[in-house]
Symmetry: C2
Amino acid sequence: MLPHHALQEPARAWFEALRTRICAAFEAIEDEDDSADAPPGRFQATSWRRPQESGARAGDDGGDDGGGGGEMRVMRGRVFEKVGVNVSTVWGEFSPDFAAQIPGAAEDRRFWASGISLVAHMRNPHVPAVHMNTRLIVTTEGWFAGGADITPAAPESAAAKADAALFHDRLRAACDTFDPDYYPRFKDWCDRYFYLPHRGERRGLGGIFYDHLRSGDAARDFAFTRAVGEAFLDIYPAIVRRRMRTRWTDTEREHLLIRRGRYVEFNLLHDRGTLFGLKTGGNIEAILMSLPPEVRWP
Amino acid sequence: MLPHHALQEPARAWFEALRTRICAAFEAIEDEDDSADAPPGRFQATSWRRPQESGARAGDDGGDDGGGGGEMRVMRGRVFEKVGVNVSTVWGEFSPDFAAQIPGAAEDRRFWASGISLVAHMRNPHVPAVHMNTRLIVTTEGWFAGGADITPAAPESAAAKADAALFHDRLRAACDTFDPDYYPRFKDWCDRYFYLPHRGERRGLGGIFYDHLRSGDAARDFAFTRAVGEAFLDIYPAIVRRRMRTRWTDTEREHLLIRRGRYVEFNLLHDRGTLFGLKTGGNIEAILMSLPPEVRWP
C-alpha cells in the first residue's frame, strides 16, 4: 500500500476541520464590523454528490463514474462580500486523454482526491482578496498540493505591499520549518502560475504554490500541508482586521470591480484548478464559486 | 492566384463600410432615447497596430510577426450600455502548432484575415444583447465565416421569443436567397456553438453561425456574407426600438447582470473566436471588448 493511502482519511478529516475553523474565524470578523447597517454574514452550507451518470464530467468520456461529493459553504456578508469555502472528496477513473496528463495515471486511471479550497472577495477595496487551497491526490502515486495567495485591488500601494509582506513572512515561516528551499521555490512557482500572459500582468501579490509534493516522507508532506493551512488561518484574518475599517471612495470601489475582471479572466482562461474540477465531475457551482460577486469591464 | 486573393481588398473595404453604417445606426438610436438624463452616447475610436515584436502573440512562437491592425469603436451610451464594433486586417505566419488546426496552413503557414466583429450589451434588460461578425480568411485556401446571434436576459419570456423570431426570420431570408440549406445548417451550427457544456445551457436564442464557407464561387460567398451584414443592420436596430422604452425593475436588471456571467463564461472558456484573436496577435482590448460592462456572480 502506498503511504498516501493511509493518509486519505486523516487528510479528509483535517481539510474538513480546517474548513470549520476558518468559517468560525470569518464569522467572528463579521460580528466585529459594527460600522455597517447590514447584519453580520453567516455561512450557508450546500452538500453535493458527484453525479453518478456524469461520465462526461469525469473527463469527457471513457472514465469510471466513481463517487464522492463535497460541501460548499458560502457567506455573503458585510466584510466578506462573497466567500466560498469548499471541501470535496471524490474518486473515480480519469478519461484516457486526461489521465495522460496526470502523474501515475497513464496505466491505471483510477484516482482519489480530497481538498479544501477557498476564495474570498471583500467589500472594502483596502482588504485584499485571498485564495487558499490544499489537497491530497492519489493515483498509483500520491502527492499533496496547495498554496495561498493574496490579491489587493491596488497592488502598487504601500498598504497592499505591507499586507503582502506580512502574508509572505507567515508563509515563509511555515515553509522554513520543513525545508529552507520551500519558500523561494513555492513563491516563485506562485508568481509564475498566477500570471495573465494575455495581459502581461500578475494576478496579485503572490504567496506560495506547490504541486506534486512527494518528498518521500508522506507524513511530513501532510504535516507541511497542515502548516500551510495554519499559516493561512493565522495571518489572513489579521490582515482583514488591519484594513476592514479603512474608508473607501467610489473610485476605489470601481477600481476593485475592474481588477476583479482580471481575476475572472485568469480563472476561466488559465486556472488548472478550474479545469481539473470541470474534468473530474466537480460541482459546477462549487468550482465557479471563485468568481467575484460583482465585476466590471468598463 | 486564389479567387479569394482578389477579394481581400473589397472585403476589407466592405467590412469597414458596414462598421460605419452600423455605428451611425446605433448613434441614431441613442438620439431617439429622450427618457434618460444622460446625453446620447457616441462611439470613440482607437486604432491599433499589430505589434511587430510580438512573436508570442502570433501563436506562442515560431511564427512570422506579420503586420496589420485595426480599429476599435466603443460606445458607452444610455441605450447601448457598452457596444464594441471592431474591424481588423492582419497577416503573418501561424506558429506550427496553431497552423496544424487551420485549413490550408499545414504546409504554408502564412495567413491573412480581415473582418468585423460586434458585441452589444444593453442597459435595458428587455433589449437583447447581440453579437455579429463576418470575416475573410486566406491561407493557401480562402473562406468566409461569420454569423449573428441574440441573447435576451429572459429567453423564456414571450417578448424575447418574439424578438428572436424576427431576428431568425430576417437571417433566414438572407440565407434563402443563396441556398435553401444555409439557414437550417447555420442555425443548427449556431445552437451547437453557443452552448455552455459545463452548465448544460444555451448562451441565448441563437441565430446563424458559419465557418469555412467556400462553395467554389468566392464572389457568391462574399455576396452571402454581405447579405448577412445587411440583415443584421436591418433587424437589430428594429428590435432595439421595439423594447428600448419598456420599463424595467431592479429584479430584472439583477437577472440581466447574472445572465451576463454566462456570456463571460462562454467567451473565456469556450469561444474559438477569442482564442483565435489571442493566438494571432489580435489586440487584447479589442478581443475582450465583448465582455459585459457589469456582471454578477452572486
